[in-house]
Amino acid sequence: MIDSSSTTGHVTGINGNMIVVEIDQGSVIQNEVAFVTVSDMKLKAEVIKVVGKNCYLQVFEDTTGIGVGMKVDFTGNMLAVELGPGLLGSIYDGLQNPLGLLDNKQGFFLQRGQYKDPLSREKTWEFKPVVKVGDKVRGGQWIGEVKENFLTHRIITPIGMHGIATVKEIVSEGTYKITDTIAKIEVNGKVIPLNMFQDWPVKKAIKAYRERIYPEELLITKQRIIDTTFPVARGGTACIPGPFGAGKTVLQHLMSKYSSVDVVIVVACGERAGEVVELIHEFPEITDPKTGGSLMDRTIIICNTSSMPVAAREASVYTGITLAEYYRQMGLDVLVLADSTSRWAQAMREMSGRLEEIPGEEAFPAYLESRIAGLYERAGLVTLHNGEKGAVTLIGTVSPAGGNFEEPVTQATLKVVGAFLGLSRKRSDERKFPAIDPLDSYSLYIEQMESSLNRDLDRDWTKMVSRSRDILRAGAEVGKMMTVVGEEGISLDDLVMYLKSELLDFTYLQQNAFDDVDCASDIERQVVDFKLLYRALTQDFKFNSKPEARQFFTTLQDKYYQRNYYSPDSDEFKKLVGEIEESLVSGGNSLV
């Protein structure tokens, strides 16, 4: 058998970021990583097609200067990430190059062919073993732990290990580097030394758990329209499609800041660098109320922005989800925000075009749907072999061409996600943020989580939410009718219905992302606020005339709205709530 690590070849063709390589010796593996030598640089590439003696590689860098005959060395390994302590707080490119370490030597620009260890080899960790000699362990099992920022990072056995191993040696509690051998295990008659990190191919899901389970618990994002109206389950999936400028990025930032989870992984995939820069500068400054540390302590940023190489963009989403699966393997609750999956799909399209594959709709490759489904299916709530639960929630944005949701990426995504948070150009033009369309959007989780919501929030929670959506729909109908027949053409009851729907929309579904209080609403506050609003929505008001009804609601709406800006323990808040209750009791008479 030929050792695959000695496989070499030479370049015979270049077309954009795809090169054709003829194998000189050795064997080739689909999706293995290879390096092209260009003068003194080695550029990373991945095999994506093998045809006879030729293979096609996508190069993860700019291909300027590559020429026919240049040498290519194959590594025999698929594109992989390093998993171990030290990931949290890092900023990586799509191939897990630590951007923070690249900058020291290279000035402002990202030069080609520079690859650094993703995890520090020098940093030391306080390791505490949790298994002893003689214990039986399986793949992906906890054998020790270290403190990583504010979180207990479990050191696990090789994830892909087959069979049951026996612990032969384990070090005692102490300070170690990730490269130090901390244990030896014997499996199938072979003794394997273990250190604190391991590689895992990004395109392969980590499945070292006992079973996947049904997600039934609410993921709290502190955005009212999401948590109350279109909730996402922990371990679930959601997509946020929207035309440009509708507020996808702001919404993603809010979720990455305020969501109640252990780890957040932000994948900036083919989007503006500026967006990431804001996170990079802001997160270290914001305190995470849960741990007292900074938000950056729980965050990993994968940053492959639009001007960075396209092939690495395709990899970046997989890099993100793999890191998430790794933390799930520690029994943690992980949120992955992928912005934007359309750019990822476009990267596939570019490569498919270069490979001269038969194009599907809008020139996307035929395998678009299965790739998208495969990605979202890597999210989920699981029970580990030790009984602990871990979750990966995946929320992806979609940037549909022309803001038209009928395009292939949006459609393929809708088939596989549990919640659809569609952003509307109309709402964003009217400055109604978050611009999630309350009529078109949906969440399948509201039914799935019914019992936990009604248990944890309020006995009648799902009923109230459903009733409020009916009011919104009815109000929108009246609104439409008014544009045709005018206000004089509708009944007073219809007008009241319309005003109620406006009240719900303006004071609850809309939320000011740039106000210190209103930007994030705890679930406890949402319950209180929603119930007070629900009283107004369901109360049977008696008005004598339309102007009287309008007057009443204008005043009431302003009070609900002003209340959003005060914290629940402030005097102003209590005063406003008192006034709202008073006017609800008097049915408006005291206000006129």
Binding site: T64, V68, F109, T249, G274, S340, Y561
Partner: protein, 433 residues
């Protein structure tokens, strides 16, 4: 040392193909036609010994016996302080009748992207004295913003006005497919406005070869980048990026690439992004702000060029009927300066005024359909008229401070404080007594 080839096998559009060895991707070649004409060309595909090149001057009149000499390096632009006040063609040749730049440093065009970690969060407000920009969608240093416009709108006038009023250290103009008159228009305005001595122009007019169009943004941005690294605050104007995208389409079709949408290549997004992403605020050095024009064919914003651009850039200004439309226009970076470097009431005023104007238009529509005018409608109509004449008219030329004051005045002339949906403490402080 450079080998010459005299056997071109194929000529397709502006692309030539020949058999050659030792060539590298994106390498530059010089071509001498049998009639003595010369042009540069760039390698865009290699298959074994078959090399495809795009000819900058176009392949019209090209003989298949023309001489091709590979130069061993990719396209470069010369950079030096002497560039200021000069005008160049799309391939970097002086077209102002002055001699070529000497002692210049050769700089790679389309170079690597800036490490995101080396960027700083934009924080400097650029006052343009155009209230639709300053109040509602302020321009921020290092922003990339296109003006979306239908053909025929005064977009180049707007661009020139911003360039004159925005007080950048250096202005770099990249003209792509400009009409000759437009080119002269920019030149005159810059000379009259006194900014020509800190301006570099790369001009490709509609009559010039298509391939040269592709080079203009890269040349302009490469030069801007060098000035930026030296600590200068550079404003880059690119007009019209739709012409640039059309050139991409022509080349990709000639290369027989599978088109994705309306004939544009699947890489359109990445191609545009790699240019716009050059906008940057360098940590400890200067900055590059990019203002571009994207004409929307048929006024259709869902056309692939404006659509992809909208996703890439940090907002857009819609120029409709000679006014910057408040709906759809957006500065994504405005939150970084509004209320932080500008007045505290800036944010609330901005939001309230737009919301009220949206409602006013609803009333207008309702009334135009023949419905009864209510008292509320009256208020809104009055507001709409004032808003259009005091703010939307492009002739208005006032500072942000006075524009905000005028905003409060306008609201108070039409509404009570309860109707504007602004936080109480702000209303109390600013509402005209």
């Amino acid at each position: 040392m450079f080998k010459e080839y005299t056997r071109i096998t194929n000529i397709i559009g502006d692309i030539i193909e020949l058999e050659a060895e030792g060539v590298t991707y994106r390498e530059l070649a010089s071509i001498t036609n049998t009639n003595g004409d010369t042009s540069l060309a760039q390698v865009i595909k290699i298959e074994g010994t078959k090399v495809s090149l795009q000819v900058f001057a176009g392949a019209k009149g090209m003989s298949n016996r023309a001489t091709v000499r590979f130069l061993g390096h990719p396209m470069k632009v010369s950079y030096s302080g002497d560039l200021l006040g000069r005008i160049f063609s799309g391939s970097g040749q002086p077209i102002d009748g002055k001699p070529p730049i000497e002692n210049a440093k050769d700089t790679e065009i389309g170079g690597p992207s800036v490490n995101p970690i080396k960027r700083v969060v934009p924080r400097n407000f650029i006052e343009t004295r155009i209230p639709m920009i300053d109040i509602f969608n302020p321009l921020v240093e290092s922003q990339k913003l296109p003006i979306f416009s239908t053909p025929g709108e005064p977009y180049n006038d707007l661009l020139a006005r911003i360039a004159l009023q925005a007080q950048a250290d250096i202005v770099v103009l990249g003209g792509i497919g400009l009409k000759f008159d437009e080119y002269i228009g920019f030149r005159r305005k810059f000379e009259e406005g006194g900014v020509m001595d800190r301006t570099v122009m790369f001009v490709h007019t509609a009559a010039d070869p298509v391939v040269e169009r592709l080079l203009v943004p890269d040349m302009a941005l490469a030069v801007a980048e060098q000035f930026g690294i030296e600590g200068k605050r550079v404003l880059v104007l690119l007009t019209d990026m739709t012409a640039f995208a059309d050139a991409l389409k022509e080349i990709s079709v000639a290369m027989e690439q599978v088109p994705s949408n309306l004939g544009y290549p699947g890489s359109l997004y990445s191609d545009l992004a790699s240019r716009y992403e050059k906008a940057v605020d360098f940590e400890g050095a200067g900055s590059i702000t990019v203002l571009a024009v994207t004409t929307m064919p048929g006024g259709d914003v869902t056309h692939p060029v404006p659509d992809n651009t909208g996703y890439i850039t940090e907002g857009q200004y819609y120029l409709v009927n000679g006014m910057i439309n408040p709906f759809g226009s957006l500065s994504r970076l405005k939150q970084l300066v509004i209320g932080k470097v500008t007045r505290k009431d800036h944010g609330p005023v901005m939001n309230a005024m737009i919301r009220l104007y949206a409602k006013a238009l609803e009333s207008k529509k309702k009334i135009s359909m023949g419905f009864e005018k209510t008292e509320t409608d009256e208020k809104y109509l009055r507001y709409a008229d004032l808003f259009e004449s005091r703010f939307m008219d492009l002739k208005v030329d006032i500072t942000l401070e006075s524009a905000l004051d005028l905003g409060w005045k306008t609201m108070s002339e039409c509404f009570t404080p309860f109707e504007v949906g602004i936080k109480k403490d702000i209303v109390e402080k600013y509402w005209p007594k």
